[in-house]
């Protein structure tokens, strides 16, 4: 496999001590491409996102996650982040008393060698650019991380962080859920700004709507803990029209039972 990819190989996982949720997921996102991951509720999409990020609530029981050829399974979440992975959370937590600017400075410095902290001008340059990309006011940077944020603001903050931290691969976990059309446009604009040859992205969504704004190179469909089909962007449209039952019956009659 191309070493410039994020590859999920036959991944099996469960909540620690619970039933298996991922039952052999295969998926490859090359750098430079944006892929969508669609599927009905409970198919394991969000679980996959959290496991890639290293959520300790889950345990991997088989398979592998390869970041440009290197397994990340033994890595802590922070090591994965520093290696270039990013997860935009479906439900970002609040961290009272910690300003976004302060937090991002720490996060950026965590990626740099000790004693080589980011310069003030460079840092603010990055922040200003990202804020502008999201049609946001700079005052947002002084607000505490997600404290008192609306659902839409939280999602926007996840994309702001993505723009500032510049990961090689990002997973967006239902970033569109709970957003009105205007917010959706802004968030999509942010993601599109990050697109480029050095950026790979897996956009997890339940609905096709988001994909009008973030046009994917490929669409994967996940049902019952497996990716059952992969196709071009038109697959998302078809799915939207025909529904998940159709995709189950067509691609995974066994899973439909």
């Amino acid at each position: 496999m191309n070493d410039k990819t994020l590859e999920i190989r036959d991944l099996r996982a469960r909540i620690v001590g619970g039933d298996e949720i991922l039952k052999g997921v295969d998926l490859v996102v090359p750098r430079g491409e944006v892929h969508a991951l669609m599927g009905p509720n409970g198919s394991g999409k969000s679980t996959l996102a959290k496991i890639i990020a290293g959520d300790p609530q889950y345990e991997v029981t088989g398979g592998d996650i390869l970041l440009e050829g290197e397994s990340v399974l033994e890595m802590e979440p922070d090591e994965r982040a520093r290696a270039g992975l990013y997860l935009a959370f479906q439900y970002p937590v609040e961290v009272p008393g910690v300003s976004i600017a302060n937090f991002l400075r720490l996060a950026l410095n965590a990626r740099r060698p000790e004693g080589d902290e980011i310069g003030v001008m460079e840092f603010y340059g990055k922040l200003q650019k990202a804020v502008k990309e999201l049609n946001w006011d700079e005052s947002i940077l002084e607000r505490n991380l997600h404290e008192g944020f609306s659902g839409g603001e939280k999602k926007r903050s996840e994309i702001l962080q993505l723009l500032v931290l510049e990961p090689r691969y990002a997973i967006l976990d239902e970033t569109d859920s709970g957003l009105d059309v205007d917010a959706l446009k802004v968030v999509s604009q942010g993601v599109n700004a990050a697109r480029g040859p050095d950026f790979g992205c897996l956009v997890i969504t339940h609905y096709q709507r988001l994909l009008n704004y973030i046009v994917p190179d490929k669409v994967h469909v996940m049902v019952n803990g497996r990716v059952i089909t992969t196709g071009p962007k038109e697959l998302a449209m078809e799915l939207d029209q025909k529904g998940y039952d159709w995709v189950r019956e067509t691609y995974a009659p066994a899973a439909a039972q």
Binding site: P77, D78, A81, Y86, V93, V98, F103, L106, A110, L165
Partner: protein
């Protein structure tokens, strides 16, 4: 002096301070005078004699000793059974304080490293470490000193204050915290030494905080310091007891008394962040009398020590007086921080506000003990208390003991308490942004303390943050 063997016997008490078991810490024999162990009338007489004090002070000390003997130790609060006076030196001759060494090189490497990591200015490091060397950046101090003198501000160590301003001293000394007040105040009154004496004249605003470490007298950070601060009408100033590094003491008992008088319309703030070594019993009385339309603010940070009992208080004596306490307590393994506040509303339209933040980790225990008292006739008094506790793990413990006594119908008193646990989801979230687990935890803790920390001058806030990071190191199993 037979107790001063080649390897200093008290060095063992430093254990826990830097998680290092062995110190090769040597003191020459016959280095300083100190009293024998234990608290006796002879010790008290000797202290007064050596200081060359006026007769009234000797009488005051002896009376205080009698009061202490009569009172006995408090029967409430943390366990003090391990505090044995027979093991304590109650007086060590000034400038040759116990634990004093004559050069920076004799301070254990670990302690020096900690100071450096904390970014404590070298001058302050030396004082904290008990090095009797002269202050090197005297230029800065002298410039400030000239400014204070021009404004008529008195800022001296307490012993010098007594010598140079005997009348002013006598007028206010022990009027806020008399020896009868409590057992530890009585002990302090009998054996006090050092501390700061501050007088800011009418209408004077001091733009730069008065920082105790400027006094740089070895005795200033003593075991039984006695600080007396007087804000004349309309004055405005901020006093900082800078002591954020582990106060390097071989003594295991610290009992200070801080007295503040806020005269009409004055605005006084007292800030201290203390980090005693983990063997110390830290039992302090801090109180302010607040007169008409005056405002008093305590900012009190308690880290380190074995046991701390400390309840900064404001006696709001005249109409429009305002009192504030912002406090932080951080209890780690083996520590008990029993901290809080007292707000006594004795006049109409007095207001008070308390924000207390505590953190407990491991077998550490943080308690909030607070009293709000509204006297009859203190019409329309208002008080609001908010205490938030954060538990870092399953074992950690927190308690809240709010005492509220209201004898006035028109009073308005609010009390809010929250307890939260360090949230796994928050830690995971921060880690996915590249922060290590202990960095993530430290950041959450700093965020929790932010409402208090942001009231500190920047350099102290920075030090507090570093200190918290140090406390959090090794939190991850």
């Amino acid at each position: 002096m037979s107790e001063l063997n080649a390897a200093h016997p008290d060095a063992a008490k430093l254990e826990g301070m830097q998680h290092t078991k062995q110190y090769d810490f040597r003191l020459p024999e016959d280095y300083y005078y100190k009293s024998g162990k234990g608290l006796t009338k002879e010790v008290v007489e000797k202290i007064s004699y050596l200081k060359g004090e006026p007769d009234w002070m000797l009488k005051f000390r002896l009376r205080a000793l009698e009061i202490a003997e009569k009172k006995g130790r408090p029967k409430w609060g943390p366990d003090l059974s391990e505090l044995n006076f027979d093991d304590i030196y109650f007086y060590v001759k000034p400038t040759e304080r116990q634990g004093t060494v004559d050069s920076w090189d004799e301070i254990p490497e670990e302690v020096r490293k900690t100071y450096q990591r904390l970014g404590v200015p070298e001058a302050e490091q030396r004082v904290l470490a008990g090095v009797g060397a002269q202050y090197e950046s005297e230029m800065v101090y002298h410039k400030l000193k000239e400014e204070w003198e021009r404004l008529g501000v008195i800022f001296l160590d307490t012993d010098t204050g007594l010598k140079e301003h005997p009348e002013l001293f006598k007028e206010y000394f022990a009027t806020v915290v008399p020896p009868e007040d409590n057992y530890f105040a009585a002990i302090n009154s009998a054996v006090w030494s050092g501390g700061s004496f501050v007088y800011v004249p009418e209408g004077v605003e001091v733009p730069v905080p008065l920082q105790a470490y400027f006094l740089l007298n070895a005795q200033n950070i003593g075991q039984f310091e006695r600080t007396l601060i007087i804000g004349a009408p309309g004055s405005k100033f901020h006093y900082i007891e800078g002591c954020t590094a582990p106060a390097y003491t071989t003594n295991s008992f610290h009992s200070g008394v801080i007295e503040i008088i806020c005269q009409e319309g004055s605005n006084v703030r007292y800030s201290t962040i203390q980090n005693w070594s983990h063997n110390v019993f830290n039992l302090v009385t801090q109180r302010a009398l607040v007169y008409k339309d005056a405002s008093m603010g305590w900012l009190d940070g308690n880290l380190g020590s074995k046991v701390t009992m400390k309840y900064p208080s404001c006696y709001l004596l005249e109409e429009g007086a305002h009192g504030e306490v912002l406090s932080i307590a951080f209890a780690t393994d083996g520590q008990h921080q029993d901290a809080g506040s007292k707000m006594i509303h004795a006049a109409p339209h007095t207001t008070s506000s308390v924000v207390s933040k505590s953190i407990s980790k491991g077998s550490g225990r943080a308690s909030y003990r607070g009293l709000v008292q509204i006297h009859e006739g203190a019409e329309y008094a208002r008080s609001n208390v908010e205490c938030d506790a954060l538990l870092l793990d399953e074992e950690a413990r927190t308690d809240t003991y709010p005492y509220i006594e209201i004898n006035e119908k028109t009073a308005h008193v609010g009390h809010e308490a929250t307890v939260s646990k360090l949230d796994e989801e928050q830690i995971f979230y921060l880690m996915t942004r590249g922060l290590k687990e202990d960095e993530a935890m430290a950041l959450i803790v700093r965020g929790f303390l932010d409402p208090v920390a942001k009231e500190l001058p920047l350099e102290y806030a920075v030090e507090l943050n570093r200190l918290i990071e140090l406390e959090m190191e090794g939190s991850v199993g």
